[in-house]
């Protein structure tokens, strides 16, 4: 399959495996990412996986595009298209109307009941394609086709941290309070980013996520535990 190299100045280039957002394309991105992480090429600063391309960052004071690209091409020949399977997480989410202010409008516009929307969202296993936008912001897919809906035309200035949201065929949990244009359908009581943890970001690209509906009382209890620093997020990691 064709691989395209595009240029991001003299500090990075992209290895593009396709144009779309799909699992086979992303699997090739992740396979090369894993391969280059292990290879530790001289002058290679880091690699950044996204939906359909891997950004290779290098130090032009130490090496050159020609040398790094040659090394990447050599690794590419062995990278394959099947990266190791990531962790499976079970994230609690409360689909309370107050915590998911777009539930009613979104379900109405999709011609579904709110119950059906929640059922569809909660019964799918999602794949973390990439992180971006803010530390720990995971782009997860694929949302069931019945739930597909473009971003809101008017983004919100303030989306609460923990908001569970959808846009297009993707879903996410906002790790921070931030502006945002996705549809808010619930809230996760567990912080996806915690600077006090040795690994501050919970989800990694390549991980899988299942949402587990909790009621408001359970949401409040988990929120309180998390706020007091008594919640161990590792308990959310499922045996895969």
């Amino acid at each position: 399959m064709d691989v395209r190299f595009t240029t991001a100045g003299d500090t990075a280039f992209n290895v593009e495996f396709g144009e779309g957002i799909d699992r086979p394309t992303n699997a090739r991105v992740m396979a090369l990412h894993a391969r280059l992480k292990a290879a530790a090429l001289p002058g290679l600063v880091e690699t950044v996986p996204t939906f359909r391309s891997l950004q290779v960052v290098y130090d032009p004071a130490v090496t050159s595009r020609r040398d790094v690209q040659a090394a990447v091409e050599a690794e590419l020949a062995h990278a394959g298209d099947a990266p190791a399977e990531g962790a499976l997480w079970r994230l609690p989410v409360c689909y309370d109307a107050e915590l998911g202010p777009d539930l009613a409008e979104l379900s109405a516009s999709l011609g579904l009941s709110a119950e059906r929307l929640i059922d569809l969202h909660g019964s799918t296993e999602y794949f973390v394609y990439m992180l971006g936008f803010m530390p720990g912001f995971a782009y997860m897919g694929d949302l069931p086709a019945e739930l597909e809906k473009p971003r809101r035309s008017e983004p919100r200035v303030r989306v609460p941290a923990g908001s569970v949201a959808t846009a297009g065929r993707l879903t996410t949990v906002y790790p921070w309070e931030s502006p945002g244009g996705w549809h808010l359908i619930g809230r996760c009581p567990v912080p996806l980013y915690d600077g006090a943890r040795p690994a501050p970001v919970l989800l990694a690209a390549g991980d899988r996520v299942r949402f587990e509906a909790v009621d408001r009382a359970r949401f409040d209890a988990l929120s309180a535990e998390a706020a007091a620093g008594r919640f161990d997020p590792d308990t959310l990691r499922a045996a895969s």
Binding site: T6, T7, A8, G9, D10, T11, A12, F13, N14, E16, E19, G20, I21, H33, V45, E46, T47, V48, P49, T50, F51, R52, S53, L54, Q55, V57, P60, A61, S64, R65, R66, M130, L131, G132, F133, M134, P135, G136, F137, Y139, W176, Y193, G195, P200, V201, A204, A205
Partner: protein, 365 residues
């Protein structure tokens, strides 16, 4: 007033407008969505570190707009400022003395270093010999304010903030100076086209490389909105989100380019017409609203050669650092030591009345 600090530190006694701790960036965690951050003008930070004998990547204070005042709560603290910023020293019983940037100064316990307005560039840097005794986060002391990441709560330095000093690392030495401020050059900003130049009309690429753009008022550590001719896409401005670098020039649907700086997101969904070369990042990092720039395209190979030459130039600047020449100006330390200057300074700064001034002038020691 707060109690003196038991640990050696610099204490903020008047906050500036936007001063943050920065090193050369938090690389290696962009896969988590963690922005790199780091010094907007890495050349200035490297030179400031060289002036106090620090390794190039030691964290310093990046100062935008107006600097803070810092009280020295340690003995013999060597500091240096690189960048277009006014600074002065307030020593006990004396009035403020202007200090020169682009050299080191050895400060005494109780001194107050007053950093003033940054004019002519967006940022200036303060380096302290030995650096700060702060805990790195993911291998870096860079501050990313938007998510509160970095030392001291990831915030700009506030009133009463204490910057603990790493005294064990403070290399001894006499005060030194750069023979002249660094020269950043004035030619068009050099870019490599791409990664998505094929998403733009040929006319848009030509316009981009010939027009003059002005930095709009939306300018911060995340990026600069550029005002100028709009750049037309061949189709949609949107792409599947892919990686961004400092220097990426992305163009949303309205056609107005945005030049991304150090606090840029790790990935973004707008087509990018070009990328500023690494050697010119310090120049664009110094741009403020109202500043103008134009672009010239080079190849990756040319960009790499320019960067290698620039590294040689920086090494030459650092090699040219020399002891401060007392003959070239007033030796402030000596004057303070002899207690000759404080009275005169009081008058110049308006602390004495006219009669006193005449009296002082007529009674030269």
């Amino acid at each position: 007033m707060s109690a003196p600090s038991p640990t050696p530190c610099l204490t903020i006694v008047r906050p500036g407008l936007f001063a943050t701790i920065q090193d050369l960036g938090r690389f290696g965690h962009q896969e988590l969505g963690m922005p790199v951050a780091g010094a907007l003008d890495p050349i200035a930070l490297r030179l400031a570190n060289a002036l106090v004998g620090n390794p190039a990547g030691t964290a310093g204070v990046e100062i935008a707009l107006l600097g803070p005042a810092l009280k020295v709560e340690a003995d013999g603290v060597r500091v240096a400022v690189v960048g277009p910023m006014a600074l002065s020293l307030e020593r006990e019983e004396a009035s403020p003395q202007p200090l020169e940037p682009h050299r080191s100064h050895t400060l005494a316990r109780g001194d107050v270093l007053k950093l003033g307005a940054v004019t002519g560039a967006a940022v200036a840097y303060l380096a302290v010999a030995g650096g700060f005794a702060l805990e790195p986060f993911l291998g870096s002391l860079s501050t990313y304010v938007r998510a509160g990441i970095g030392p001291l709560g990831g915030k700009p330095l506030g009133d009463r903030a204490r910057l603990p000093l790493n005294r064990n690392n403070a290399p001894p030495g006499t005060d030194v100076e750069l023979p002249e401020p660094p020269d950043y050059g004035g030619e068009p900003v050099r870019v490599v086209l791409g990664p998505q130049e094929d998403r733009f009309t040929a006319e848009a690429v030509e316009t981009f490389l010939s027009a003059t753009y002005r930095v709009g008022k939306d300018a911060d550590r995340m990026g600069l909105r550029l005002d100028g001719p709009a750049l037309a896409h061949t189709g949609s401005a949107d792409i599947p989100s892919d990686g961004l670098v400092t220097g990426s020039i992305q163009v949303p649907g309205n056609g107005q380019p945005i030049l991304l700086l150090n606090d840029h997101q790790t990935a973004g969904g707008y087509a990018k017409i070009a990328t500023v070369i690494s050697a010119d990042l310090p120049r664009v990092g110094r741009l403020s609203p109202g500043g103008t720039l134009s672009f010239r395209a080079v190849t990756v190979e040319e960009a790499e050669a320019i960067r290698r030459r620039q590294e040689q130039t920086i090494v030459a600047w650092i090699r040219a650092i020399r002891p401060v020449r007392p003959a070239g100006g007033v030796d402030l330390e000596a004057l303070y030591a002899e207690n000759l200057v404080s009275g005169v300074v009081d008058i110049v700064n308006g602390n004495g009345d006219i009669l006193n001034r005449e009296e002082m002038c007529g009674r030269a020691p």
